[in-house]
Subunit: 224 residues, 2 copies
Amino acid sequence: MFESVRVIGMGRAGSTIAGRLRERGLEVGTGKDTIADADLVILAVPDSAIKEVAQAVPIGPWVAHVSGATSLSALDPHQRRFSVHPLQTLSRDRGPEQLDGAWGAVTAGSPAAHDRATWLAATLGLEPFDLADADKPLYHAGAAMASNFLVTLYRTAAGLLETSHAPPEALVPLMRRTIENGFALTGPIARGDWSTVEAHLHALRERAPEVEPLYRALAEATRP
Amino acid sequence: MFESVRVIGMGRAGSTIAGRLRERGLEVGTGKDTIADADLVILAVPDSAIKEVAQAVPIGPWVAHVSGATSLSALDPHQRRFSVHPLQTLSRDRGPEQLDGAWGAVTAGSPAAHDRATWLAATLGLEPFDLADADKPLYHAGAAMASNFLVTLYRTAAGLLETSHAPPEALVPLMRRTIENGFALTGPIARGDWSTVEAHLHALRERAPEVEPLYRALAEATRP
């Protein structure tokens, strides 16, 4: 489908994508070692920079971005365009293998673009699924809740364990198993044990009042 | 330390604990097949029932409960008493092996009780840690946030993906990796990309307004 790819932006996403495409045998140009005549240009730049960088790319090759929230229109004036969003949190401490097992949101405005986007997602090692351009912001809000706010949940809960002189890392097997058990709800709210919920709120008010509003918002969203 | 144990309450916790103690070669009595002269009685009943059930147990054997939020005083009038809280979400579809790798909160009012509580936690396969009686409600609020509200986070995010016609199960590799990566924060808030956060809020207001308050509370708690 594509044989030579230029990747612009060497942050977490760009370097992971470039590494994976090289593993797959493609000619990949990045930074100073760029390719003038690449047949695909991938913009792995911050969302707010996509529009400006796209305008600076000469018309001709296919152009793609990898943002989950950004419309294809940010790639104007290019019409041979698509986006693939790797639905994964990327670490500089890992290599291209961190894409394995993750899903990839494919957005395209034509059958030709869809074929190419699906090819790129699969070549990266992602499980492709279709995402309409207009659905991207809501989809990305869900992705951010699942990953970024999971961090917030852990940090907040870990702070409560620290204040209780209990080891925060004890939460990790609990959280892993919650996922492994298919997110089955257990605990006081599942049991309808409101006196324990009241005991939590009382303890929070006394010893961690900054956490109380978040606890209440989450408890409210958890009630059946 | 103990050779015969009576377990009262055959819910998730009681049946898992009884199964594990049998695996370890102890004589375990449950339900009708109970032991009159057990040297340890474990109350695995709902938190609100512990006090009443404890009062009905004749004075003599050691008595323990397995609640994370409940004080030892609920075991009155017994003085040979302690608690061990398995910090794990338990499923009826799993056996005693689900205790492996989890931590166990040990609460005891005397050195003799502490020895016995630590022995029970280790015999169950838990990694024991000490938890003061007065710290239990705050500790348990943290445990409930980490597990129960993780379910809420997934369900809410999955709903947003469904509304976006994206597969909710695509969130699972993302959430697993967020834990594996040590809860490192990535995404728009980590990047200071507030226009993407605004795009999320705009999409939520239009298509999932019931989620907006929770998103705002979590975003507020995530800001550096």
